[in-house]
Amino acid sequence: MTSIFTQAGPLRAGSREYFFWLHPEWWCKALCGFAWVVMLIHGWQHAGHEVHDRMTFSQELGYWMLMCAAMMLPLVMYQVWLTAAGSLWTRRHRAIAGFLAAFFVPWLVLGIAAVGLRQSSWKYGYAIPAIAFLSAALWQLTAAHRRGLIACHRTMPLAPSGWRADRDCLRFGGFIGGACVWVCWPLMLACTFAGHNLIALAGSMFVAGTERWRFRPRQVLLATLAMAGYYSVLYFAAISSRALP
């Protein structure tokens, strides 16, 4: 018979092995979980004064990338799985690594710009996140945002082996990362200016997931406006407290 029907060495298909076979993207989920744990600890340590929290450039950039991993990886888990499933079995993890490496490049570029902006002293207040969330709500009404959202669902053919396979994984990851940045950049900037506040992170995650998986523009818009309102209230509360004798 053919090589396909030929049995090779012994295989053990216990529950654990079967789980890892079924979910080759398991370590991507673990990475996402780790990022959430770090962000939760950070949010817990700076609860209540995240907006005023000043960090060095490298620290801020590190938290930006962790925030991207925590919030964006769940949204592209299907594409990660698709990359693994479309690759030869022996190179499935390499394919995932290539996809993720390229996926995070656009986020890193935006992160450098965002952290550069964040370093300015006038960014440490409630007005900036409120304006950023309002901008995010307005961005969701545009046709460009809708086009980006559609592009997030794009798939690309992957070569099975050789340098072409690596190139295709990088290209696929880069394309999805670019589309992801195009759709979510105002929300992520708002989260950064909110000092990685957990409410902002969870709210933005909800918005991004809802608009990606269940396209309900009105609810998504309302959720983003609610976050803009939340930071507006905080801003005016801060002003009024300063005005008190």
Binding site: T2, P10, L11, W89, G162
Partner: protein, 212 residues
């Protein structure tokens, strides 16, 4: 296009018979069953054991070969080939002890123009007309909705059409041929009759072979 197949069905029943007889001989200590067969037998026997009920696990597909670049289909015959690798993962094992399935996947079929359906053949000898080999016919690739699925308007990404077809029977037939090369697979696409003045320009993203 005739889809009639002149050859007998692949020996799925035979593999089951071998497994059962292997189990009987194994009990007598006569048959040197291979390691995976032993595992399959073990899983079969344990599944039938009422004291140790096993969860039903769906099979996992494993890609064993694919084209390395997109290609175009036009008028006439288009052929592509790719290397087939031996499975190294879950395709080696079927948890439920059944025979494996061979699946042909055609991904990201896109076109800006209406196109006719294509007949797909496997391992047609080079230089020969696939239509002279009805026994190598795999399936018809329908192009219904091709233009709509190729455009990134209307709320979807324009990924085109994707097809997944079970070619286990044909693959079993091919593997029995004398000139069978297990490390390569040729896939031929043949257009049906179509308006001569209308252009045919269909892009195929990838053709891959999967085992489950």
């Amino acid at each position: 296009m005739s889809t009639h197949k002149h050859w007998a069905k692949p020996p799925i029943w035979l593999s089951q018979l071998i497994l059962v007889s292997g189990a009987l001989f194994e009990g007598c200590g006569l048959a040197p069953a291979g390691p995976v067969v032993q595992k399959e037998l073990h899983m079969q026997s344990s599944a039938s054991d009422p004291k140790k009920p096993q969860k039903s696990r769906p099979p996992i597909r494993e890609t064993v070969g694919a084209t390395s670049a997109p290609f175009e289909l036009g008028r006439g015959i288009a052929t592509t080939s790719f290397e087939v690798h031996a499975p190294t993962g879950p395709a080696l094992l079927r948890a439920d002890g059944e025979a494996r399935h061979v699946l042909l996947r055609i991904e990201n079929v896109r076109s800006d123009y209406l196109a006719p359906p294509f007949d797909v053949y496997l391992n047609v000898p080079p230089g020969e007309d696939p239509r002279r080999h009805p026994e190598l016919f795999a399936f018809t690739l329908s192009t219904f909705g091709l233009v709509e699925m190729s455009a990134s308007t209307g709320g979807h990404a324009g990924n085109g059409l994707n097809f997944l077809r079970d070619v286990t029977e044909l693959y079993g037939f091919l593997s029995a041929a004398k000139d069978w090369d297990p490390k390569a697979l040729r896939v031929s696409f043949v257009t049906s009759s179509w308006d001569e003045s209308a252009p045919i320009k269909v892009q195929v993203g990838r053709v891959s072979l999967m085992i489950e």
